[in-house]
């Protein structure tokens, strides 16, 4: 039995990928793992609940959206731009990390994670949230609620969320333009 394939081209972490023959029915998570060795997005529940597998979708208008790779077909991403957790930090010409993203740095400073399995999803979710706050700043008193609503769907079994929450709140408060008076 042969598996029907289709050519797939897209942009991942600012690099053009493809065209590659990819099975029509393959999920994005499997494509990232098996074809590109990008294993940062975690396979958790496999049914779109835990959000460990998410990546950033960089839309044409520059806005960001969080996408679950375990339940979204690879070919849905054809022609689109995404950023996986591997593409969050700044790197030098040799690919060595020179500077973590503000979200990654904040998670480290706050000891936000323990086992780290959910962390790529939280990095993705918090990055998308900060982008949304940049576009639509919220009032200070609404901030906690907005963070909860945005990250509530991410499941973590080690640290009880408090440290992730505090890291995102502190970063939102110290980044100019995200919170209105």
């Amino acid at each position: 039995m042969t598996i029907a394939t289709k050519q797939l081209s897209l942009t991942i972490n600012d690099k053009a990928v493809g065209p590659i023959d990819v099975p029509e029915t393959m999920m994005m998570q499997d494509f990232l793992y098996e074809y590109l060795n990008l294993t940062g997005s975690r396979m958790g529940c496999g049914q779109g609940i835990c959000h460990a597998c998410t990546v950033v979708l960089e839309k044409a208008d520059g806005s960001l959206e969080e996408m679950r790779t375990c339940i979204t077909g690879a070919h849905w991403f054809a022609g689109r731009k995404i950023r996986t957790v591997e593409g969050q930090a700044k790197r030098d010409a040799n690919g060595a990390i020179t500077e973590l993203s503000p979200v990654q740095q904040a998670f480290i400073e706050h000891f936000s994670f323990q086992c780290g399995y959910c962390t790529p999803g939280f990095v993705t979710g918090a990055t998308v949230l900060l982008d949304q706050l940049r576009r639509n700043p919220v009032k200070r008193e609404a901030l906690e609620q907005v963070i909860t609503e945005a990250l509530d769907r991410h499941i973590c079994r080690c640290t009880g969320y408090v440290r992730y929450f505090e890291a995102v709140r502190d970063l939102a408060l110290k980044t100019p333009g995200l919170v209105k008076a």
Binding site: E24, T25, M27, G46, Q47, G48, I49, E65, R68, C70, I71, T72, G73, H75, W76
Partner: protein
């Protein structure tokens, strides 16, 4: 001659005004509450009735409307967004100030069966047109049960109804047109099971309030009894024998669906999820059987399942199939399965899903766009949330997907247009 005509016109106007006045004053209202109900129930009678009343109140699904999420039990406050304005359910706990603590047995009966409360006419958001068919015994039982609850000091919320609909006395006109005085609950020649099912369907569970379309007078259109209607933007499907069969139910599966909320035909959503949650999951097996027997018009339920033949697939164009298949693989297949089989205890199947078999595609289209929240069902069953795909799929992609799903698995003509989808966003 002109003078005669004028006099005649005047006479007609006067008679008309008098008749309208008489209706307004309630002179034509016919109470179905018997005289002897004026006699109060004794404390012993109340105590004996309360236990049975708990079940009657569950079967009549009183609680779903007379509580708000996180609110005090039986204290009301649930908003009903009607096309005419917003009505809030009321406090029916036995609080003397805000609830029904001062209501007599007869006052309670008249509210439930005539739609005339202690303080004036009720809006028909309270299904008194259906409860009118309740037996006096059952209304007594509910009364006794409610009076045994904790009084809740929670004030009623003011309705937002525009003039002249805010004049409650005007409901006399609605009642004149829409209230039946025929409250006989037994049909001779049919089994006790069928008759009990009829009573459950029409009186207690008041199914017709949502599943029977409304006529111009906003009453239940008897000629289209239980043939399906629209409610808050979704379709309450046809639940006649033909409608249930079309959705893929047989009498046994349907009875179990009303208890569990889950079957091969899908999971209960929207208001029916609440109906299962608050009411039908607690039905006795006899009552579930009775309701199913009545809706399938049977005097007794069959011994074994008799599933209807699945609908024949309808052909769609290669273009639609290609677009839909790509969308299906991209955003549906990982949970619903390539063959639409779903995941037991997690995600409903699509291949046998009732929503794909309805004549109107609106429920399916709406779900594709906005998703379904996570829902806990009786026992340990739980369906995971379904995301909405308004952001991932264009109007045309949703239309193609919907047409393809409905044609393949629902046997429906591919008639959904991108415009139709756009209007649902």
């Amino acid at each position: 001659m002109a003078r005669k005509l004028l006099l005649a016109a005047l006479a007609v106007a006067v008679v008309g005004a008098l008749a309208a006045g008489a209706v307004f004053l309630g002179l034509f209202e016919r109470s179905v509450v018997a005289k002897e109900i004026e006699q109060p129930l004794s404390a012993e009678q109340m105590k004996a009735l309360a236990k049975r009343g708990a079940y009657v109140a569950v079967a009549a699904d009183c609680y779903a409307c007379h509580v708000v999420k996180g609110g005090a039990p039986w204290a009301g406050g649930l908003p009903f967004e009607t096309p005419l304005g917003t009505i809030f359910s009321t406090n029916i706990s036995p609080d003397k100030e805000h609830g029904i603590g001062n209501w007599t047995r007869a006052e309670f009966h008249r509210a439930v069966r005539d739609g005339v409360g202690k303080h004036g006419h009720l809006y028909p958001a309270m299904p008194y047109a259906s409860y009118r068919k309740l037996t006096a015994d059952d209304v007594d039982a509910v009364y006794a049960f409610l009076m045994s609850r904790e009084p809740m000091k929670v004030a009623n919320r003011a309705n937002h109804m525009p003039f002249p609909l805010n004049i409650r006395q005007g409901l006399t006109f609605w009642n004149l047109v829409n209230l039946s005085s025929d409250t006989k609950s037994e049909v001779t020649g049919r089994s006790a099971l069928w008759n009990r099912g009829r009573y459950l369907t029409d009186a207690l569970a008041h199914c017709g309030e949502c599943h029977t379309p409304r006529n111009l007078a906003m009453g239940m259109k008897e000629s289209a009894y239980l043939e399906g209607s629209e409610l808050e933007g979704v379709i309450a499907p046809d639940i006649t024998k033909a409608g249930l069969t079309r959705m893929g139910f047989d009498p046994l599966v349907f009875a179990s669906f009303m208890k569990s909320g889950i079957s091969a035909q899908g999971a209960m959503t929207n208001q029916m999820f609440e109906v299962v949650h608050f009411s039908t999951q607690y039905f006795t097996n006899d009552d579930l059987a009775a309701m199913s027997a009545y809706l399938f018009d049977l005097d007794k339920l069959p011994e074994s399942a008799t599933p209807p033949t699945p609908p024949k697939p309808v052909a769609v164009s290669a273009e639609v199939a290609a677009s839909a298949r790509a969308s299906y693989i991209a955003v549906c297949a990982s949970c619903h399965g390539m063959d639409g089989q779903g995941i037991p205890h997690v995600v409903v199947p699509l291949a046998t899903n009732a929503s794909l078999r309805l004549a109107d595609a609106r429920n399916l289209n709406k779900v594709i766009l906005t998703g379904i929240p996570a829902q806990r069902f009786p026992g340990l069953e739980r369906m995971q949330p379904m995301p909405g795909f308004a952001g991932q799929l264009s109007d045309q992609q949703v239309a193609d997907l919907s047409n393809w799903l409905r044609a393949n698995w629902g046997g429906q003509q591919p008639s959904v247009t991108a415009d139709e989808v756009k209007r649902l966003r």
